[in-house]
């Protein structure tokens, strides 16, 4: 009953002082809502960008053939440098920074199963390629393996969309089946597990097929690779690996390792590092904005508490004159602050959550990602605002409650 009566008293007061309560609540609401949104969109954008990097593969660089742009040891410029599979093995044997390396060829081919016919990009690759590029086989299937490569087996690994297109409803039985690739029979050994982010420099992996590079080269009498994909060991950077590869091939083909024309290289880790730094900065910015918002919210709450100090001190004086104990006055303030903070905070959280739900429906997921509610962060915000409000509210209240009633009545 004790507590119940305090609550009755407390709601009486709250209802009477609607404007003040609403203003304070709004301050808390606003602070919580903006921080919830900042956290949610920050998380979403960061994840979207990192994911698009990961979909292509982590720590990889891609090397294309080129033409020397510098003279070197008496050799003229303008020579073509075109690495072969042997060169890839040559690099693999000598380099210390490389975790995986594989050649890559590709062109459009006709894929046919039954009456389904489609023209798709088919790549000649090595087994390592699948790991580097995150081409993960579905359950009960596999990627191209070393035996396929050594024995020039006509096997194919299909992107999930191509598989769907060729096999339709019977896609679950596709593994082991034969399809025709440019008129020749190939056995399907695997289907790619759907990737959330599967675009790369050659188009979407889900719409491609992958065959052993040895088969590819035999089919088109191809000696050279379109490009080479290499993945560095985690302790090295893409740049160090690039320099090592250029040095090794430079020795073999006699070109200046600093010659940017000899081979063109795309270091995806550069972008990755940039993104990582960018998002560190971005997170820092978010934290700063969040802290500023909290401080503003705290000042707002403190201000409101101070604005009403006069009124409140008189109210406290009246209540003490009527027999309120110090503890019940303080309890009232604590309840009030907690209630206002909780309601304002929860409303802010809910409103933020609503926006987080609505915004993705309007599209743009590739860039801003899926904003995700950071529940703990948001709760933290509410708690901090509550503490700020409590401190802001409790000190004037305590000061007033420590006065003699007549002093509180006459203070202003």
């Amino acid at each position: 009953m004790n507590v119940f009566l305090s609550i009755k008293q407390f709601f009486n007061d709250l209802r009477r002082q609607k404007l003040r309560s609403i203003m304070t609540m709004f301050g808390i609401f606003w602070g919580t809502c903006s921080i919830v949104l900042l956290l949610a969109f920050g998380t979403g954008i960061t994840e979207a960008q990192l994911k698009s990097q990961k979909g292509m593969g982590e720590n990889i660089i891609i090397i294309w053939p080129g033409i020397t742009a510098k003279e070197f040891k008496g050799l003229p410029k303008g020579r073509r440098i075109r690495p072969t599979d042997d060169d890839v093995n040559y690099i693999k044997e000598r380099a210390t920074t490389i975790a995986r390396i594989a050649p890559e060829n590709g062109r459009n081919m006709n894929l046919k199963f039954g009456r389904q016919l489609t023209s798709r990009n088919v790549m000649g690759v090595w087994p390592e390629y699948g790991i580097m590029r995150n081409l993960i086989p579905q359950m009960g299937s596999r990627f191209i393996n070393q035996l396929d490569l050594d024995n020039r087996r006509r096997v194919i690994f299909l992107g999930n969309l191509v598989a769907d297109q060729l096999f339709g409803d019977s896609v679950s039985t596709a593994v082991g089946r034969e399809i025709l690739v440019n008129g020749l029979p190939y056995t399907v050994v695997g289907i790619m597990k759907e990737k959330e982010q599967d675009s790369s420099y050659r188009g979407r992996d889900s719409r491609m097929g992958f065959i052993p590079n040895s088969v590819y080269q035999a089919m088109f009498s191809e000696r050279y690779s379109d490009d080479i994909v290499a993945q560095c060991k985690p302790q090295f950077t893409g740049e160090i690996m690039r320099q090592e590869i250029l040095r090794i091939l430079g020795e073999k083909y006699k070109f200046d390792p600093t010659d940017v024309g000899a081979l063109s290289v795309w270091d995806t880790t550069e972008g990755f590092a940039f993104l990582k730094n960018f998002f560190y900065a971005f997170s820092g910015f978010l934290v700063a904005v969040g802290i500023a918002t909290l401080i503003t919210g705290g000042i707002g709450v403190t201000n409101i508490m101070n604005v009403v100090l006069e009124e409140r001190t008189k109210e406290i004086g009246i209540k003490m004159a009527l027999g309120a104990r110090k503890s019940s006055i303080l309890l009232q303030f604590v309840l009030e602050t907690l209630f206002i903070t909780a309601v304002g905070g929860l409303l802010g959280l809910m409103f933020g959550a609503l926006i987080v739900k609505i915004v993705p429906m309007m599209g743009g997921e590739e860039f801003i990602g899926v904003p995700r509610l950071n529940l703990w962060g948001s709760m933290g915000v509410i708690v901090i605002l509550g503490i700020v409000g409590l401190i802001a509210g409790i000190f004037p209240a305590r000061r007033a409650a420590n006065l003699q009633p007549v002093q509180a009545l006459k203070l202003f």
Partner: protein, 229 residues
Amino acid sequence: MAHNVIYMKQVKKRYQTGQVFFDALRGIDLRVEQGELIAVVGPSGSGKSTLMNIMGCLDVPTGGVYKLDDKVVNTLTSNQLADIRNKKIGFVFQAFNLLPYATAYENVEVPLLFARVSGKKRRERVHELLARVGLADKMANKPTEMSGGEMQRVAIARALANEPDIILADEPTGNLDSKSGGAIVKLFEELHDSGKTIVMITHDKSIAERAQRVVRLKDGLNDTNGDLS
């Protein structure tokens, strides 16, 4: 000899403003018996309000002894003082001191809440009190929606909420015109007739006439009507 509800001996109050000290009460000797009606008079600044606030436990003396029902008040804890203000003494201010945002009903309810009177009893009591001061129809009015006389009657109803033995009033008609003041005076007379002990700062003739004693204050000292032998 009748029971002393209020007993003061050499009660002093010294105010400090910065470095300046001021003795508002310089040694009050006063005794009030159960059921008495006492009028306190004196020029402005003589310390009447100061005395009344100490009597009502709204302030503490800086010297002397104050006994309420034979208990020394000086040494009580703040919670004990709060309970005295809540149940034993009803205080009526010149400036009404109603909670500005609360209705008449809610204002009268406040002391009952602090006394932890439960719902149904509380409601009955508030209705009864407001009816007694003639404001049964103004229950939902806020102070801004009432006249001065009505506000003071709400304040009286509130002072009576927990049936205190003692009613203290500091110029309860000071802010009122003579007609509404008359109604308030009549209320106090009724209270006196019903056996309450009343101490009131007033210049009202009819109260002074009814009063057992009129205590005169001057420069923080009272005359012999304090009746302390």
